[in-house]
Amino acid sequence: MFKFILNKIVLIIPTFFGITLAAFLFVRLLPGDPITILTGERGVSPERRAEMVAQLGLDQPLLVQYFNYLLNILQGDFGQSLSTHRPVVEEFFERLPATLELSFFAILIAIILGVPAGIIAAVKRGRWPDHLLMGVALTGYSMPIFWWGLLLIMLFSTQLGWTPVSGRLDIINYYFDPITGFMVIDAWLSGQEGAVKSALRHLILPSVVLSTIPMAVIARQTRSAMLEVLGEDYIRTAYAKGLPTWRVIGIHALRNALITVVTVIGLQIGTLVAGAVLTETIFAWPGVGKWMIDAISHRDYPAVQGGLLFIAMLVMLVNLMVDLMYGWINPRVRDGK
């Protein structure tokens, strides 16, 4: 097992350097630079521009810039955001909890609804529950997120008044300093009456919206994994032994279908963290997705590089955990057989 983990970690190192290079080049390939965006409609004289370019260190050859960047990273310095002048690390990790909190609830909803839906569809294959559930999943998968989010807001927030429109907390009635960055936990720590409830209420719509696509993917993948397993001989044997249906499906079949399901869930977590941009924008959720988009449109080189690198690391971490979970679910993987 130890060797298995070590192998995985060793593989991460070249990936890490690959990503630094890709991130570095990617953002510089975009036309326009931070100065253009900063000066906007106003423009800037060539002399002043040269001064600013030099100030940002962008006048040096690309190779020199990259090696300086690498050198700094190895010393733990990811640079300062060009637009806020704050360390990129601080900016990113300040916002990560918001994204993680949202992603956690979204993936929870996606699993709780997606996995059973997939199982039911597989068991009732070809009959109406299968068609209905897979139809819903397909709809969910094809839903334009922005439109879907606004639709839910208009119905549940403006018309029915059940949930708040956007934000993370009722800011008129509650205020406390962030401690962990996770609003639900901070609300609980603040001890203010009703704050936790307010934080949870604010989580409902965004997590439902964010969970829509992963839920659909999980449901479809669970269904196909289950179908494959249900066709195996040992399932027929289990039935023949006279085991009750719930045991055959819930334990014998599901355990083997889980490998695929866990992979899919792992992949979805990666996408969630990196891809919550639209949901974060609609619900004014201060997460890393929105931060990255802003950094890209401002050509904030250090922020884009840092952000891409951190997100990539996070995805790798999740993948590593998924790999470890395979080993746990299926010993054949860990022993390399």
Partner: protein, 531 residues
Amino acid sequence: MKKRLIALSVLSAVCFFSQVQAAPKTFVYCSEGSPSGFNPQFYTDGSTFDAAGQALYNRLVEFKPGETNVSPALAESWEVSADGLTYTFKLRKGVKFHTSKDFTPSRDFNADDVLFSFNRQWKADDPYHKVSNGNYEYFTGMSMPDVLKAIEKVDDYTVKFTLNRPEAPMLANLAMDFASILSAEYADVMMKAKTPEKVDTDPVGTGPFQLVAYQKDAMIRYKANENYWEGKPKIDNLVFAITTDNAVRWQKLQAGECHLMPFPNPADLKAMQENKDVTVLSQEGLNVGYFAYNTTKKPFDDARVRKALNMAINKQAILEAVYQGAGKVAKNPIPPTMWSYNDKVEDDKYDVEAAKKLLEEAGVKDLKTNIWAMPVQRPYNPNAKRMAEMIQADWKAVGVTAEIVSFEWAEYLERSKKGEHDTLLMGWTGDNGDPDNFLAVLLGCDAVKDGSNRAFWCNQAFNDLVQKAKTLSDQAERAKLYEQAQEVFKKEAPWATIAHSVVYEVARKNVSGYKQSPFGLHQFKSVDLTE
């Protein structure tokens, strides 16, 4: 007597308790974006001005609420010498800076703070000049380094600015956000504590509100400044709920999650006007949406071609479709609310036949060209792509085939600065209410190399008029020159002036005391909430 005393004490007790029990008034503003930071000296965007310059700071002089005229603020009065080269400011006494967790001011605002605030931006050897890697964009953009000769402290409450040349817009410039006054004492304390950048991230100002907390892309929280020199604001807490999407802002306003929102989607205006819970505020914007010809390219170097193409554009239709009728068709590059606006100028009439004839005269046949459309929404142009489509259709009627081109914003700015476009849509919102801020910045010869003159139009007659007007201090004389400049502009037609838009804001019915700013700023010092 005793009875009276008892009655009095009961009464005062009642008053006391009713005061204690009154819930704090929290005003929520659904702002459109995060500020770039909290030092207004560095930035040029409206979100930063609202969150920093307007809420936290004051300037020597300020624009009167709702107007473009300048009024006393941290300077109680001023004198300008006859040659227009010296400005002497008498400073206000008893103005207090905010107290923060790291800093308790030991003295009131004085001349040292003024010197610190300007020297930091101006002098490369100022110890604060390089702190936070600051770029003083507006200070440089408004030519302050060229204009300023000296800033001196005459005594604790008198400051003298000496200029290299007369600069008529000087006072208006000093009312802009970059000229906000920061505390020199706070700067010294932070420098000694080896945390100078805190001056920019943990702001201390003299303004009506004090910063409590900020979470980027989520919210900014302020409390009222009890010691504010104009009197404590009527609200106790001010919160900016940062909501970038205009449809979501509108939903939040309806749900009562905020009290005021800027930049509504023009398409929602009708529903807003019909909604009984909200008031739609509007003001003619200090802006212009324009369509520039790249005058360095053929056939756009010929004024007749530009004129003809202008005549082919149905601006009234654009006003209806793109601005939903909210605005005025533009005939001059400056808006009608600005002094020196030349109302005698006649606009190029929409006339397809005349346009065709003029094109023929200029020898232009089967012209193929492009129209660049901005990818962003601005008050001066809410939907550039739609506008481009309409111009494209209009031009087709005179035999001109145009392809619509658009890029992501940074790329759009970059490429158009290099002059890659044939024609492009762009616009401008004024900074200080001075005509120079439109005519020189957008159409002057210097602006060609700065990239803000995207028509690449350098006309000597026009440029001389505008440059001369800048050196005069008499407004009536300046106005005459600007009026002439507008005539030259119209004759030469480097742009098709499209429209001056109306700027809308939407407030809940219980909001009072709010005034819209012609500069698009948002100020809350006099705002109140009624039950």
